[in-house]
């Protein structure tokens, strides 16, 4: 009798376990298939867009009509972005495809920059046409290799989602011992090819940099050592009322602006300050105070007066506030340098003020030191009235000033900045003060924290 019971319970348990396990296995299969479908779709998107890119770029190269060229080049930009984005969502455990993604993004950006050039009434020069032809050769090869890869993946039943199970870990934590699946050789081959392409310099956001760009605001200054950097950091920070910060350690920073990272302790004040001091000239590039600010006693205007005084104490003279926002009981204010009546947007510094006691808890002068130099600004060739006549007629002008603005590719242009009203919303419109071209439009958004631009 008892034995009979025992067998029954064991049998029921076994059935329960098998049912439970089968249910889990089936769910897991469904999830794996759904994931695999996504990856397959992303892969086909890459292949399809690369094939289309070859065709469209080819048409752009043979077209004799500038209207058609603009159309084809804009489509290259759009499809290259789609391909780049799909490629970025495929899982590769042991393969880094940085150069492949960069190739697609740069090709699109370059085509877009050329489209803008043609739309602006200019013709492409020989070098630019050769560059587009070079892109064409690369994308044709890419398409050929991807078609081969597609065939191999299909024949071997490759599953992308399999990369995510088992011993998978983030790319930067994978030991080099594992071999890349041979089906993915095509990706590897093209990555090596793209990695060997020469640097590409043009007027677009994804242009390569020409070597190391020297910080313009530090040229001619002399090198300092680590002890001097610590002294400079202490001096800069302790100019604040009641400051008694001491440097406790420092380390080297080997970025575009070589510097020392100095950690300062407030001797009883809460919050550690980390300050970066340039190795050339010993200037404090930026600092951040780690202390949280829990309440606000100061108004935005009072905070801005504190920030202005902070800048003047440290010899940042003639700076104008460009905008400010309030977040987490602190006020962030961006200031731009001026040259006579011209506002220099590239030469900006940012200050963060704690609204509890007015302490400066953040400073960033990196852009100022990277860009600031004596400029020979051109004389405006347009009168303000002439520039205003270039604006769309439906805009109501509220104010204007001369401003130097940065464009992509590291260029700077002298413009008239118009703050305008369109249907109750504010737009900033920039008209080149020399040529009269419209260089940029920003939309001002009033958020509860302050004004922001789009």
């Amino acid at each position: 009798m008892r034995r009979w019971y025992g067998w029954l319970i064991a049998g029921l348990l076994a059935v329960a376990v098998v049912t439970w396990g089968f249910g889990h296995w089936r769910n897991q299969q469904r999830l794996a298939n759904a994931l695999e479908s996504n990856y397959q779709r992303d892969f086909y998107t890459v292949v399809e867009q690369v094939e289309q890119l070859e065709a469209i770029l080819g048409k752009g190269l043979v077209s004799g009509s500038s209207r058609q060229q603009v159309f084809f080049l804009t489509e290259v930009w759009s499809r290259a972005n789609t391909a780049q984005s799909a490629l970025g969502q495929l899982p590769f455990t042991d393969l880094n495809l940085s150069a492949s993604r960069k190739f697609l993004a740069q090709m699109g950006d370059y085509a877009y920059t050329m489209a803008k050039r043609i739309a602006g009434g200019q013709e492409l020069d020989d070098e630019q046409i050769q560059q587009l032809e070079s892109f064409y050769r690369e994308i044709r090869e890419y398409g050929r290799v991807l078609q081969r890869t597609e065939q191999e993946l299909h024949e071997n039943g490759y599953r992308w989602a399999a990369a995510l199970t088992g011993r998978s870990s983030p790319r930067n934590q994978v030991p080099e011992t594992r071999q890349v699946s041979s089906e993915l050789d095509g990706f590897k081959e093209m990555e090596q090819r793209f990695d060997g392409l020469p640097v590409l310099i043009y007027d677009g956001p994804f242009s390569d940099q020409i070597g190391e760009t020297e910080p313009k605001g530090l040229t001619g200054m002399k090198k300092i050592d680590r002890e001097e950097a610590e002294r400079q950091a202490e001096q800069f920070v302790n100019q604040m009322a009641g400051g008694n910060y001491k440097a406790v350690r420092s380390s080297e920073i080997e970025g575009p602006i070589p510097a020392y990272g100095v950690t300062l302790d407030g001797q009883g004040r809460s919050g550690i300050i980390m300050a970066d001091v340039s190795a050339q000239g010993g200037k404090v590039l930026a600092f951040l105070n780690s202390r949280p600010v829990s309440n606000a006693n100061l108004t935005a205007e009072e905070a801005e007066r504190k920030a202005q005084a902070f800048l003047e104490d440290r010899d940042f003279k003639g700076f104008e506030k460009t905008y400010g926002i309030t977040e987490n009981n602190t006020r962030w204010i961006v200031y731009a340098a001026t040259d006579g009546e011209v506002r220099l947007y590239p030469d900006q510094v940012k200050v963060q003020v704690a609204l509890d006691d007015g302490e400066i808890v953040g400073f960033d002068g990196t852009m100022y030191y990277a860009n600031h130099h004596r400029r020979d600004l051109p004389e405006p060739e347009l009168t303000p009235e002439k520039a205003e006549s270039k604006l769309a007629s439906n805009l109501e002008v509220k104010s204007r000033r001369l401003a130097l603005i940065p464009l992509t590719g590291g260029r700077e242009v002298l413009t008239y900045e118009f703050i305008t009203d369109f249907n109750g919303e504010n737009y900033l419109v920039y008209i080149n003060a020399v040529t009269g071209d419209e260089e940029n439009i920003l939309k001002l958004v009033d958020t509860p924290q302050g004004e922001l631009t789009i």
């Binding site: 972005n81 780049q84 984005s85 970025g88 969502q89 495929l90 899982p91 590769f92 455990t93 940085s98 150069a99 993604r101 960069k102 993004a105 740069q106 950006d109 990369a163 995510l164 998978s168 870990s169 983030p170 790319r171 930067n172 934590q173 994978v174 030991p175 080099e176 956001p205 994804f206 380390s251 080297e252 920073i253 080997e254 970025g255 602006i257 990272g261 550690i272 980390m274 970066d276 930026a286 951040l288 780690s290 949280p292 926002i325 977040e327 987490n328 962030w332 961006v334 940012k350 963060q352 953040g362 960033d364 990196t366 920003l442 958004v445 958020t447 509860p448 922001l452 631009t453 789009i454």
Partner: protein
């Protein structure tokens, strides 16, 4: 007796549901609703981008000093701006195998977000202690040889930042 029991069950259920509503409806702190160009040059679609950035910072660098957290947020934003990476915050965060904490779900379990949020905002306002770095890793953990071919910019806390 039974009535009393029933009453307390109803009461407990009500208390539970009300408090659940309170938890679920905790207002978001941020009111940004439009795409906004931040000081870092990255356009945020809306406040959700900030929350996502905050979660990755908390999960990847929760125990790091404040500046180290700003640095991790800055690396994510540098990736958004780089042609070698996806061009949105979500694209960068959800890139397969890019972040351990996204793979193991830690970003959804972290709950101490205060410092990480401050750090994310500092990076969005343009602070970049990594000077353009695209990678960060912990040198005391096993890492691939490839990552060591990157040019190291600096170390903050337990993380090394490189281009």
């Amino acid at each position: 007796m039974r009535k009393w029991l029933l009453g307390s069950i109803v009461l407990l259920t009500a208390v539970f549901m009300v408090s659940w509503q309170l938890i679920a409806k905790e207002p978001e702190k941020d009111e940004m609703v439009l795409p906004v160009q931040t000081g870092s040059g990255v356009t945020l679609r809306n406040a959700n981008d900030l929350h996502l950035l905050t979660r990755v910072v908390a999960a990847e660098a929760g125990g790091e000093p404040y500046e180290g957290q700003v640095a991790v947020a800055a690396v994510l934003l540098n990736r958004v701006k780089s042609p070698s990476f996806p061009n949105s915050v979500a694209g960068v965060v959800y890139q397969p195998l890019a972040f351990e904490s996204v793979m193991n779900g830690l970003i959804w379990r972290v709950n101490d977000l205060a410092t990480a949020e401050r750090a994310a905002r500092a990076a969005l306002n343009g602070w970049d202690p990594t000077y353009g770095s695209l990678f960060f890793w912990n040198p005391s953990k096993p890492v691939s040889r490839w990552i060591w071919t990157r040019k190291i910019v600096r170390q903050i806390g337990d993380h090394v930042f490189g281009i």
